[in-house]
Each structure stands twice: as structure tokens, then as C-alpha cells.
Symmetry: C2
Subunit: 335 residues, 2 copies
């Protein structure tokens, strides 16, 4: 990071630097990154707002989850050739002190571990099921519904017997929500009458909202919540590019008057239950009840553009940057 971005990330905010691959210390592994996970959180980490993790320091690499192959290990838990994930950076090789072995025996390609079986899928699962407490027959509204998290939330809502209403940008994504992910209704927030469309789609009101966006979109959702609604606040991507105050919300009135619960959610809470969550997601994938998609661009130089694709709503599925071939790709790929 050459300097902290103001607004959207520009290529000029970053420098592409070539350095020798460092030696690793005792306990560490050297990982050749295959995929870099591109998440809205990357942009948040570039800001110096007070947040859960430390903001990225200026001149430091852009922190990111990466997925790759162990080249060299000085850690008894890993050996060369293992496929792992961990906190790396926008870089071809990462030195990690902690990583998680990716279980090849599950028979899905590496990209699945970066999406439906990784942070986005687990966020959808634990955020929706544990914090949202959905009951069969309830109406669930999901913003950024065509995204890596939202598309999984909608499908789990259907599995749990709920009505799933997705909010997404543009007719193509809305069609995808219905046809590929099985949402009951899709609302295009780019349409002039989208607020009326949302009211219509929600029918008797919203029982669970899975919120990824914030700002005026959240206000519209709050206008339609039912008594005792649960709003899982998983992201506020409308504001991650903002320098000053974040977009405000004026409809807290309904949180009060409908006795609703607005629950801030970070997946970090559920790391101890990762295996349980991944097994459940894997079962649903195997049963064909959970579709997942990745949007792959090639080359580390594409990382800033890939991040902007996420904010512009251009990604179709989990956004990844691929640095080299995925050794598991094509084995079982349910796309």
C-alpha cells in the first residue's frame, strides 16, 4: 500500500514490488498462493477507522485470505505439497505462522474452500442460522443477495423453510437469484420503483434481514420489518469506500417500535465451530441444494480492479484472483 486510499482504491494507491522470497523461521511455512480472496473487508482494512482487526499499515502489503500450496515447512503440522489457507496478502508467496490445512478428501476443488466452504459460506451459515434464528415460514430479506455470502444465505433460507427475498442490482442478477439460487422473489435496487417492489415482495413484512450494505438500503429494509425482527448486520459495504462519516440510518425507530434486534456479526466469533459449519455446507453442496459460484480474474496486478468489481457489483460469485493453476480444479466443479 503506497498510501491509504481516499474513496475507491486506485492502482496508484498501491505499488507492485518484487522482493526475494524470505527465509522462514521455526514454526513457519512458505506458501505459494494459488488464489487470493477478494473481500469488501480488504478495503475496510486499508482505512484507518477503528475496527476489529488492525488497519493495514502504510507501506505494508494488503492483508488478505489466501489459498495455496506449501513450498517449504518448518512446522510439524504441514509438509511441502499441502494445500492450506491462512492470512496472507496480495502477494505471490506468503510466510505464515498459522494456517489451516484444506481437506482434499472432501472432493471439491480448491475454489470451493475460498467460497462456499470458506469465509463467505461460513458467514452465511453462522450469521443467518445462529444470529438470525430463522423459523420455517418466515420472510427473509437479503441485501447484496447475488454475492458470495448473500447467495448462500438465500439458499439456506429455503432449506430452512423460509421465504427468501433477495435485493440485487440489475435484471441479470435478479434473474440469477430466482433461477440459479431459488429465491422466491428478487428486487432490483437500481429500478426506480424498487421501494414499492420491496414492499410487495416482502408481503406481510420481514422477519429476518441479512444486511450487507447499510445506508438508505438498510433504511428501506427497516421500514418493512415485523415485530421481533432480527437484523443480522454482516456488512456495510455502502460505506467502506467513504472517507468521513459513514452513511447514516434514520429508521432506528422501527428497531425500537418493532422490538427488533440489530446484531453485529463477524465470522471470527464462529472460528471454533468452523468444522461443524463446513461439514453442514458440504452436505448441502453434495445434495445439490447449495449452488456456488466463483468469479476468477488472473494475475496479481488485477487485485485492485477485482476489489472494485466487488463494490461495483460486477462479480458473479465469490471474487478471486488466481495466481497459478488450481491443482484440484475440475475434479468436482458444480458450477
Amino acid at each position: 500500500m503506497a498510501h491509504r486510499p481516499q474513496g475507491r482504491v486506485a492502482d496508484s494507491d498501491l505499488s507492485l514490488v518484487t522482493e526475494p522470497i524470505p527465509d522462514i523461521a521455526n514454526g513457519e511455512i512458505l506458501v505459494r498462493n494459488i488464489y487470493i480472496s477478494i473481500d469488501p473487508t480488504n478495503r475496510l482494512w486499508m482505512s484507518d477507522v477503528d475496527q476489529f482487526e488492525t488497519p493495514i499499515a502504510e507501506a505494508a502489503p494488503i492483508r488478505a485470505m489466501t489459498f495455496g500450496e506449501v513450498l517449504e515447512s518448518r512446522n510439524a503440522k504441514f509438509k511441502a505439497g499441502d494445500l492450506v489457507t491462512g492470512q496472507g496478502a496480495w502477494e505471490t508467496h506468503s510466510v505464515m505462522a498459522r494456517a489451516r490445512l484444506l481437506p482434499h478428501e472432501e472432493g471439491v476443488d480448491l475454489a470451493a474452500h475460498a467460497s462456499v466452504l470458506g469465509m463467505p459460506g461460513l458467514s452465511a451459515y453462522f450469521g443467518f442460522v445462529e444470529e438470525g434464528q430463522p423459523k420455517a415460514g418466515e420472510t427473509v430479506v437479503i441485501s447484496a443477495a447475488a454475492g458470495a455470502v448473500g447467495s448462500v444465505v438465500g439458499q439456506i433460507a429455503k432449506i430452512k423453510g423460509c421465504r427468501a427475498v433477495g435485493i440485487a442490482g440489475g435484471p441479470e442478477k435478479c434473474r440469477r437469484l430466482i433461477e440459479r439460487y431459488g429465491f422466491d422473489r428478487a428486487v432490483d435496487y437500481k429500478s426506480a420503483q424498487w421501494e414499492a417492489d420491496l414492499a410487495d415482495a416482502c408481503g406481510d413484512g420481514i422477519d429476518v434481514a441479512f444486511e450487507n450494505v447499510g445506508g438508505t438500503l438498510l433504511d428501506c429494509v427497516l421500514r418493512h420489518i415485523n415485530d421481533r425482527a432480527r437484523i443480522v448486520l454482516c456488512g456495510l459495504i455502502a460505506s467502506y469506500n467513504d472517507a468521513g462519516d459513514w452513511q447514516g440510518v434514520t429508521m432506528l425507530r422501527n428497531v425500537l417500535l418493532r422490538r427488533a434486534r440489530l446484531q453485529g456479526f463477524l465470522i471470527a466469533t464462529y472460528w471454533p465451530r468452523l468444522t461443524e459449519g463446513r461439514q453442514q455446507l458440504k452436505r448441502w453442496v453434495d445434495e445439490g441444494r447449495l449452488k456456488w459460484d466463483v468469479d476468477v480474474v488472473d494475475g496479481i496486478g488485477q487485485a485492485p480492479a477485482a476489489l472494485n468489481r466487488v463494490f461495483d457489483g460486477l462479480s458473479t460469485g465469490k471474487q478471486l484472483v488466481r495466481l497459478t493453476d488450481d491443482p484440484w480444479a475440475g475434479e468436482i466443479n458444480n458450477q
Copy 2:
């Protein structure tokens, strides 16, 4: 209500009307009101915003909790002379189909049932204890802390072993928080450096916030919440007089990034546990651990001014309008 108020209630928004006392039907009682409870909610009910209870219809009386004596009963549960509370109106006599007998044997004056043992005390008790889930050693911040609800929350916080920080307007109220109600710290939001004072008073941050106000004040509170904070949203009085959009909040970021919970709270949820709550509050009053105060003005014509006193922060204790002598007053009055 002559017409729906715009902004603060003006005398001209209301008409004082004299009508014959109506006959009561089977199952009803006729109550001579002794106290009218003046609550921020009265103003909310005068608005036509979508809310928990139905807005007051134009030309209808101003709905309010009242406390009075049964003059005539066609309901087997009540007899003439009983003291009761129920949903009445800004009126000298109310016909009620449902009411609650006030238990004289508890040995406190009638005003106690309108304050510490009534809706304000019960809101403080259930809102703070059940929704706030305070733990000993935690820091609790209370807005409108010198009010009928806030002053009780602060005292319960101390009983539960928490640090109690109160936000109130002006040095006199702040002194009252410390000296009469035993808060650890009091922050005067009318002071120019109040945000710095709040940060200082909160020490290591806020674990539980009991929020009655909303708007910029809530934003300041949210700036200082800790990971896993619970914010009990009990009122948004900063906006009850507003005609259009309510005051916005920009710091939802911290609800997300601190995994906080913003929980809308209405006392209606806890009516089934009223007796339990009142018994606990009564025990604390008897033990001298819970001080309570009422601010009484006389005469039904004072009701609109009394409501504005609440919004202007001029009430010292629960605001009541007294219509006639309190038959229990002075028996035990812990003021």
C-alpha cells in the same frame, strides 16, 4: 386532540372539553383519575408514524396511563373505592374495560405505582436486566439518566455491581445522579467538551448502553462501545417531536465491528412478568437501595405543558399530572 401536532405540542393542538360522564357497560368500570402519567410515548401516539400501538385518532382524547379510584363497577374484579391503573386518557374520568388493581398492602403511596413500581421502574428493570444482560464489573452508560427510567437503571446497575455512567443535561441533574442516585460518573451533554467527558467517564469503554435519546447522542455512545456491547434501545426521544425523518445515526459501523447488539425494547413484552418485577423493585425500595422521585403538576390543563417539561428535561423525576388528592400520599413517601 384538536389536530395532530407538528413539532412540540402546543395548547392550541388540544381542546379542553366538558362532557357528561358516560354510562358504563357490562364488564366496565368508571374511574376517577387521580394521576395522569406523562410519558414521551404520549407524544409518539399523537404522531401518525407507524408504531406499536395505534396512533391517537384526531378528535380523540390523548391516550395515557392513569391512576385512580373506582367510582362505579360493572366488573366482578373491581368494586367502588378500589385504586386501579389502566389505559385512560387526559381526562378526569375514564371508562375502562381492563384495569389493574393497585395493591395498597404494599404500603407505598399511589405515586410510587406511577413511577418506580409502574411502567418506568419496570422498563428500567426488565430492559436493563433482561435485554442488557449486565455482568458485575461492566461499564453501563445511561442516557436521560436523571429521568424516571434512567435514574432507576443507574441504581440497578450499581446493585448489579456495574460502573454506572449517566448522561444528563446541566450541572444540577449531574449532581443529582451522583449524590442521590449513586452513579459513578455523570456527563453533562450541554457542556462544550461533553464528548471528551464521556470518553473519560467510560474508561475502558461501554459494555451496556441504555439508550433513551437517539440521534447524535447515540452516535457518541456508539463510538465508545466495547466488543460484544449490548445497547438497549428504550426510547428515541430526540425525535418524538420531529415531523419528517427521525435523527439519523452514522455509527452503526461499531455495531458491526464490535459485534454489538442493538435491541429494541418495549415494556409490553414483559407485562406477563409484571408482579415479579414489581416485587423486586419494591424490595429494593424497602431496603433503601432504590430512590425514586415524582414531579407533580396540578390540573388537567397542565398536561400539555407537563409533556413539554419532559422533552425539555425540566422534570425532576417521573412527571405526573395530579387531578385530585392522592388518598395514600404521605403514608410512606421515600422522597
